[in-house]
Symmetry: C2
Subunit: 617 residues, 2 copies
C-alpha cells in the first residue's frame, strides 16, 4: 500500500489503521455533551510502532489505555479547523501486522461541530430535546477520537444511553435495546455496523422518534408529527432500491431506513449507511423531490462501498452518485427525463462556478485542499463537474449501457476500499483497453486540474427543457403590454421539475422588472407553492426584482429551515438587496445561536461577518 | 446473524468471531515442528463473554494471554478426528461488539495432519528438506489454534523464520524478508493477507524454491529443477485470469502466483489465495492439463471470496467453481469443448457414486457431516453433482449468458462472506423472481438431499465426444480377428482431451480381453505417454485386463506421485487384481511413512487396513 496523505487529517494513518470501533455514548441533554468511550482496534503498518496519533477537535480526553494498560497521551496545539492531534505513547512496541486495542474515555464539547442540540421549542413536538450529528466531511473528530480520514475503513458497534422517553438511531443495523443498568431513567440502544466504512459515516440521532415500515427493508423515522407525511413522500424507496441494484449490484448494507430531520439539518440528504438522513424540505406532498432519495440510495455503492480516499477526490463520491441517481431516474421515468436532469445540472454547475469565481482553484474537479476547510470548499462542483465528465465519457465510449458496465465493474473492483482519482483513471484505462485512443484524446488536465467550466459541453436532449426555455424567453422579452398574455395555463402544462427549471432559467438572466414578478404571482400564485425547490427559486427571482412584499417570505424560508442549499443563497440575495442588507445581518445574528454550527459559520462568511476570525468556535 | 453450527469444528464461533491473525512461525526441520505464536483479534457476539474455545489438534499449548494478561486454558479430550477444544477463560468479561487480542504460544506435532515434512531425498533437488501444508478441510487446527470453520473469515499477517538457504511462501502477498535478529543462520519472510478469508486457506511452503515471472501479476514457484517446465506449462495463466475477470468480476487478491509442489501433494490443485498450489502431475509438457489452473483461478471468486459456510455446503465452492472453470474453457476454446468437458464430468460423477455406493448418504449434494471425517467424505460428488445442478438450471432458465448473470450477481452479493445452500437458493429465487414457476418445478429434494445420481440428466452436445464413443465401441466389439483393423492413426485424430475421454469410456465397460490391451499398446504405445490423466486411465485399463506387464508401471505411478485422484484408484485396481493383492498391501506399508498423512490414511482404508482403528495418528 502506497503512503496516503490526507490534508484534512492529523492522524498517523500511514503508520497504523483502524479496523473496528466499539463505542459507548452517554448522551447528556442537560450539558449538551456526549460522555464517550471508544475502543479502537488498530493494526500496525510498521515495525517498532510505539506511538500513534488520532484526530480530535474540542474533545476533553480523560484516559487512554492500550490493551488495558495505561498509556500516556498529549493533545497537540489546535489547528484552526483540523483540530488537535491526540498523540498516544504505547507502553509497548507493535510490529507490522499486529493489532492493539486503544481505549479512550472522553467528553465532547457543547460546541462540537458534528452535533446539533435542539431545545424542545426547536422540534416539531415541542416537548423533548433532540440531537443529531453530521460528520461529513471532517467533524467526526468532534464526536469520537478517531482516524478521521476517508482512506481508513472500519466496522463499529455502539451502545448509546439516552433518557428513556427518547429513541436513539445510528448509521448501522439496530441491535436491540435495554434498560440502562446504571440509571433506571435511561435506555441503552445498540447498533452494529458489520460493513467497514469511513469515520464520516458514523451518525446518530436522539429524539422523540417514531417509525413506519414502508418497504421490506425500509422504515421511515421522524418525530411523530411528520411520520405519516414522510411515509407517503418516500413510498417509492423500495422501487428505487431495486432499480439501483439492477444498475450497480446487490445492496450489501441490509436495512435501508430513512430519517427525516428537523428543519435546521444543513443538507438535502446525508447517506449515512442503513439510515439516510433527509431534510424535511423534501416533503413536497407529491413525491416530486425524491431524486434526493435516489441520490442517497446510490451512495450505498458510490461513496459508502467505494469511498474517496481524501476529500480532494470527493468528485469520485459525488460525480458517480449523481450519475447513478440520474440513471435511476432514466429507468423509473424515461431517458428524456435523465437528459433533462443532466441539463439542469449543467446550469447548477455554472451557478456554483459563478459563486466561487471561474478562476478559483476550488472549482477544479480535483482541488488542492492543503490548509483549506472542507466546509468552505463544499459546493456542487464535484457533483456536477463530476457528472459532466462521466456523461462526456459515456458519449465518447458508446452510450449509457456501455458506460454503466464500467461503473458497475469499478464498484465491484473497489468495493470496501478507498480510491483516488488516479486509481479510478487507471481502472478506466484498463476497462476500456480497446478504446485507449479515445481516452487519450480527453483533455484530462482541463477537466480535472483547471478551474471554471469544463473544457467540453456535453450534448443533452432538450425535449423536456424546450417548454421551460420558451416560457422563460417569453417573460424576458415581454413588454408591459405583453403581460396580459400570461395565464395560469402556462404552468399547468409543466411538471414540477419543469417549473423548477423555468425559474432556474430566469435566475440566469438579468432580474425581471417588478411589474413582471407581480404579474407572475397574479397568474401563477407561486407564493402559495410549498415545493421547496420551486419556492426557493421563486423567492430569489422576487428578491432580485426588489419586490419588497416577497422579502418577509424570503427571510422566513431562510430561517425556518436550515438546508444550506436554500439558506445560503437566500441570505445572499437578501444581503444584495441594499435596502435590506442591515436587516439581513441582524436577522442572521438573532438566529445564529439556534442555527447549525456549519451553516452559521458559512452564512457569516457569506455576509462578510467574522472576516479573518478563525472558523473554529 | 443466525447461529451457525459446523459439525466439523469445536470452536465457539457463535459466541465470538476472529477478525485477524498475527502469526509468527519458527520452522524447525530438525524436529519437524513449527514453534508458533498467534495473536487472534476476536470480536464478542454476546455480552458477558468470559470464555471461548479454539480448535486445536495435536498441538502443545504453552501459554495464553488476553490483551497481554495471562489467561487460564484447558485442552479438552481429543475427538477422534475433530481434535481437542482449547478452552480459554478470560481474565475479564467482554460485551457484544468488543474486541480482544488472544495470544497463544504453541508447538505443532511432527504428525500434524496439515504439514508434510519431506527429507532431501524426497525432493527434486535432493539437497534440502521441504515443508508444505494442506489445511482444507479441517487441518488448519493442527498448524494454528483457531476457529477452524469456513463460516469465519479474517485477515492475516505472518512472520516466518526458516533456515537461510530456504525460501518461505504463503497464501498472501509477500511483504519482504530480513535476517532473523535472533539467529543469523535464519531468514524471516513476511506475508500480508488483507482480504478476509477462512482458516482453511492459510498455507505455507518452505523449500529450496525458485520463481519465474510469467505474467504481470503471476510468478511460478517450485524447486529449480521444475521451474522452467512449470513456466512453460502455465504460460496461459494471465489469459485465463482475464477471461475469469470478464465472467466473474475484478480479481481482488492482487497477486496470482502458482506453486508446483513435490509429487506427494495429495490434490490436483489447492486454491490458496495469491498462491495456487499445483501437483507436478499437471506438467504434461503440452499445456493440456491447464483446466486445473482454470479451476483454481475460478476459486478466487467461488470459494475464496464467497465461501461455503460449513463443509456440508462444499458444493457451493466446488459446483460453482467447476461451472466457472468450464465457462473459461468455453470462452478460450469453444462451446462444444465446454459441453464435452461437462459430459466428461457427468461420467466422473457416475464413477464417484459407484465408488461410494448409490445409496450412500455421502453422495447427497448436501450431506450430513455430523461425526463424519471430511477427508473421508471427500469425493467428486460436490464438484460434478453441483455442476450438473447449475447446468440443469442454466438449461431451464435461459442459457449460459442468463445463468452467468446470476452467478456473477451471487458472487457480488456474497463477496467476503460465507453462505449456506439456503442463502444460495433464496438468492436464486430473488434473482429469478420472474421465473419462480420454473424454479418451483425443480426437484430440489432429489438434487440436494437424495443419494445417487441426480434426478435429471442434462443434455450435452456430443460433437467432440462422438469420436471417443465410436473408438471405444469399436474396441469393445472387436473380435480377435478385428484387432488388425486398429492403427496409430486412430488416436492421431483425437486431442489429448479426447484420448482421456476414450479411456474413461473404456473404464465404464467390462474389462477388455488381454489380447486387446496388448494390441492397444502395440498400435498406440500408451505406455510411453507422460500426460498423467491419460497414463492413469490407461494403467487402470491394463490392470483390469490383468495384463501383468503393466503392474509394475501401475505401482510406479501409484507411489512415485501422491495425488489422491490417481494414487487411490490405482491402489484399488491393484488390490482387486487377486494375484497382486498381497504385494499391493506390502508396497503400501513400505511407502506409508513417506506418504502424505491424509493420503496414507485413506489408502489404508481403501485397502482394508486399520479397519476400526481411529483415523487420528
Amino acid at each position: 500500500m502506497a503512503t496516503v496523505t490526507d490534508p484534512s487529517s492529523l492522524a498517523s494513518f500511514s503508520k497504523c489503521i483502524t479496523r473496528h470501533l466499539n463505542l459507548r455514548f452517554h448522551v447528556d441533554f442537560d450539558r449538551h455533551v456526549i460522555k464517550g468511550n471508544v475502543a479502537l482496534t488498530i493494526e500496525a503498518l510498521e515495525d517498532k510502532l510505539s506511538s500513534l496519533i488520532l484526530d480530535t477537535k474540542d474533545l476533553k480526553i480523560n484516559k487512554v489505555t492500550a490493551n488495558g494498560q495505561d498509556a500516556k497521551f498529549t493533545l497537540g496545539t489546535a489547528h484552526s479547523f483540523n483540530g488537535s492531534p491526540l498523540e498516544i505513547t504505547l507502553p509497548f512496541e507493535l510490529s507490522r501486522g499486529q493489532h492493539v486495542i486503544i481505549e479512550v474515555s472522553y467528553e465532547t464539547s457543547p460546541q462540537a461541530f458534528a452535533l446539533q442540540w435542539l431545545t424542545p421549542e426547536q422540534t416539531a413536538g415541542k416537548k423533548h430535546p433532540y440531537l443529531f450529528s453530521q460528520c461529513q466531511a471532517t467533524h467526526c473528530r468532534t464526536m469520537v477520537p478517531c482516524q478521521d480520514t476517508p482512506s481508513v475503513k472500519h466496522t463499529y458497534y455502539a451502545q448509546v444511553s439516552v433518557p428513556k422517553e427518547l429513541v436513539a438511531v445510528m448509521s448501522a443495523v439496530r441491535d436491540g435495546q435495554e434498560a440502562d443498568p446504571k440509571d433506571s431513567s435511561r435506555t441503552i440502544y445498540r447498533f452494529r455496523q458489520a460493513v467497514a466504512m469511513p469515520s464520516y459515516l458514523i451518525a446518530i440521532v436522539v429524539g422523540a422518534l417514531e417509525s413506519r415500515e414502508i418497504g421490506p427493508r425500509t422504515r421511515v423515522w421522524s418525530e411523530k408529527e411528520l411520520v405519516d407525511l414522510a411515509a407517503y413522500e418516500f413510498a417509492e424507496t423500495e422501487a428505487m432500491l431495486k432499480t439501483a441494484e439492477q444498475l450497480a449490484g446487490p445492496y450489501v448494507w441490509g436495512q435501508y431506513d430513512l430519517l427525516v430531520l428537523p428543519p435546521s439539518f444543513p443538507y438535502g440528504g446525508m447517506e449515512n449507511p442503513c439510515l439516510t438522513f433527509a431534510t424535511p424540505t423534501l416533503l413536497a406532498g407529491d413525491r416530486s423531490l425524491s431524486s434526493v432519495i435516489a441520490h442517497e440510495i446510490s451512495h450505498s455503492w458510490t461513496g459508502n462501498l467505494v469511498t474517496n480516499k481524501t476529500w480532494e477526490h470527493f468528485w469520485l463520491n459525488e460525480g458517480h452518485t449523481v450519475y447513478l441517481e440520474r440513471m435511476i431516474a432514466g429507468r423509473m421515468f424515461n431517458e428524456p427525463f435523465r437528459q433533462f436532469k443532466a441539463m439542469g445540472g449543467w446550469k447548477e454547475l455554472q451557478d456554483s462556478i459563478n459563486t466561487f469565481g471561474a478562476k478559483n482553484p476550488l472549482t477544479n474537479l480535483v482541488p488542492d485542499l492543503n490548509e483549506v476547510n472542507t466546509d468552505e470548499a463544499f459546493s456542487l462542483v464535484p457533483y456536477e463537474k463530476g457528472f459532466a465528465l462521466l456523461y462526456h465519457l459515456e458519449e465518447l465510449l458508446g452510450g449509457p449501457e456501455v458506460f454503466m458496465g464500467f461503473v458497475k465493474s469499478y464498484i465491484q473492483m473497489f468495493a470496501h476500499s478507498s480510491v483516488s482519482t488516479d486509481d479510478w483513471k487507471n481502472y478506466l484505462y484498463k476497462y476500456f483497453k480497446d478504446k485507449v485512443d479515445i481516452l487519450n484524446k480527453v483533455d484530462w488536465n482541463g477537466w480535472m486540474h483547471t478551474p471554471g467550466m469544463p473544457p467540453v459541453k456535453p450534448q443533452y436532449d432538450t425535449t423536456l427543457a424546450d417548454a421551460c426555455i420558451a416560457l422563460c424567453k417569453k417573460w424576458i422579452k415581454a413588454s408591459e403590454a405583453d403581460l396580459s398574455s400570461f395565464s395560469a395555463a402556462d404552468l399547468q402544462k409543466l411538471s414540477s421539475h419543469q417549473v423548477i427549471e423555468f425559474l432556474a432559467l430566469l435566475l440566469h438572466e438579468d432580474p425581471i422588472p417588478l411589474s413582471h414578478v407581480k404579474r407572475m404571482q397574479e397568474v401563477y400564485n407561486l407564493n402559495a407553492v410549498k415545493n421547496s425547490e420551486i419556492r426557493f427559486r421563486w423567492l430569489r427571482v422576487c428578491v432580485r426584482a426588489k419586490w419588497e412584499e416577497a422579502v418577509p417570505l424570503a427571510f422566513q424560508m431562510a430561517t425556518e429551515q436550515g438546508r444550506m442549499k436554500f439558506t445560503r443563497p437566500l441570505f445572499r440575495e437578501l444581503y444584495n438587496f441594499d435596502k435590506y442588507r442591515e436587516q439581513t445581518v441582524s436577522t442572521f445574528l438573532k438566529c445564529r445561536s439556534a442555527m447549525h454550527a456549519v451553516t452559521a459559520m458559512l452564512v457569516a462568511k457569506d455576509l462578510k461577518i467574522d472576516q479573518g476570525k478563525s472558523t473554529a468556535l
